[in-house]
């Protein structure tokens, strides 16, 4: 795969506790060398990211309740609304992992539904099931709740140490066929080979904070 072709399948990000506006600006200027699918930034930096990416096809990506998923549905919706207001194209939403681990799928579903309804078609909502911490049974229930809640895009894990395995993509394809319109892989993808393997298995996009490394061995 050519470098630019692979770059179109990559989402890169600059999300950290001590990120500065200056660092965001520099990151985006450099990232513009490639036609990345999207760049994810913290909410305060959506506006400058949108501005800096003008004239490119790279989308602006926001995050909500990220990556811990400890925030309430109301707070998540406030963040999604903010992202819409700042003209972000997509938003990665962490789910209620404590409800999942408690077997409370009614709460999980309610959370997905309310976020999806609040977003409408104004922004693409991508749910993060965080399979790194889930059993197979939990994974299947979570994916079902996401679909039932009206969301058809998933980012399998958040990264930050919560990583995705090839089996995760295989499981989605086996259990849900093509019901998900978009499958993003995040967490632990460091090399061109890994990225290509995930794409071959049916992933649509790969998230990486080190795109140079992932693009290194593309033609």
């Amino acid at each position: 795969m050519k470098k630019n072709e692979l770059a179109r399948k990559l989402v890169t990000s600059i999300i950290e506790t001590d990120v500065t506006e200056d660092a965001v600006r520099k990151f985006i200027k450099k990232a513009k060398e490639y036609p990345f699918r999207a760049i994810a930034v913290d909410l305060p930096y959506l506006e400058i990211t949108k501005e800096l990416l003008q004239g490119t096809d790279t989308r602006v990506s926001a995050v909500a309740s990220y990556p811990l998923g400890g925030m309430t549905t109301e707070t998540k919706i406030s963040q999604v609304e903010y992202a819409i207001d700042k003209k972000a194209d997509e938003v990665d939403v962490s789910m209620n992992y404590n409800a999942i681990k408690s077997g409370d799928f009614a709460t999980v579903l309610d959370d997905v539904k309310r976020v999806a309804e609040a977003a409408g078609d104004r922004i693409e909502v991508i749910m993060i099931p965080q399979t790194h911490i889930l059993t197979i049974e939990e994974k299947i229930k979570v994916y079902s709740a996401i679909l039932e809640g009206g969301v058809k895009a998933v980012k399998i894990n958040s990264g930050f140490g919560w990583n995705t395995k090839p089996e995760d993509v295989i499981l989605i394809k086996r259990e849900f066929g093509n019901k998900f319109l978009r499958i993003d892989v995040s967490g632990g993808v460091r090399t061109t080979e890994q990225a290509l393997e995930f794409l071959k298995l049916g992933a649509d996009y790969i998230h990486t904070s080190t795109p140079d490394q992932v693009l290194e061995k593309a033609e």
Partner: protein, 221 residues
């Protein structure tokens, strides 16, 4: 060695459970432990406030919410929204992580705005501003403490517990020196033993964020 009773020691503890795989059963357990040992509060993620508030009703143990966790990079108005939401659901203490990057960039207007929003939305409830000291220089720690004090927060707090190292004796001393004796200092992150906990109090902390609260108090002689 300072004079402190076991009861007073227990009263410094925010019994903390913020793990991503926490279950409702875990929340119930820490609430029962907090009641039994008379801890100051149970510190939890906002998704668990309703359950903890129900469990802790009339126990004297407060519900403490961890806000803007754990990255802290949100616009001030959204941070304030989260504080209001937490208060509405029953949180009585509000621990909010500051925007560390804004502090580092000298954007004190942003830091001021978010802490003012926290204090305003808390409506008199206890507020704690988390610095994430492991990412800061001494000068930045001092500046953050000064702003938090000026804006009327009740505590400055070292860490979220998600970044290493958490609280250090040096940083706790520096924070206590900076805010004086009338403001609270909470040491959190990496405190696992009775000895470590007592050393933090000796260094100037009057509140401790720990997940091993039961063992720490049991170890008190």
């Amino acid at each position: 060695m300072m004079k402190i009773t076991k009861q007073q020691f227990a009263g410094t503890i925010d019994h903390t459970l913020l793990k991503i795989n926490t279950t409702y059963g875990d929340i119930k357990r820490v609430c029962l432990e907090a009641e039994k040992y008379h801890f100051a509060s149970v510190a939890i993620n906002p998704i668990n406030i309703l359950l903890a508030a129900k469990m802790l009703k009339e126990t004297g143990v407060k519900v403490c919410a961890a806000l803007a966790f754990y990255l802290g990079v949100y616009p001030p108005e959204l941070k304030e929204f989260e504080v209001r939401d937490a208060v509405k659901k029953g949180a009585e203490e509000l621990d909010m992580l500051m925007n560390v990057g804004a502090l580092k960039e000298g954007r004190y207007d942003i830091i001021r705005k978010e802490i003012e929003g926290l204090v305003r939305a808390a409506e008199g409830r206890i507020t704690k501003v988390i610095l994430e000291t492991c990412l800061l220089t001494d000068e930045e720690i001092v500046k953050a403490c000064e702003i938090a004090k000026e804006c009327g927060a009740d505590f400055v707090k070292t860490s979220t517990g998600f970044k290493k190292p958490g609280a250090t004796l040096h940083n706790v001393r520096l924070m206590r020196e900076t805010v004086g004796k009338d403001m609270g200092v909470k040491a959190a992150g990496g405190i696992h033993t009775t000895e470590e906990a007592l050393a933090m109090i000796e260094a100037g902390a009057n509140r401790l964020g720990v997940s091993a609260g039961v063992a720490i108090v049991e170890g008190f002689k």
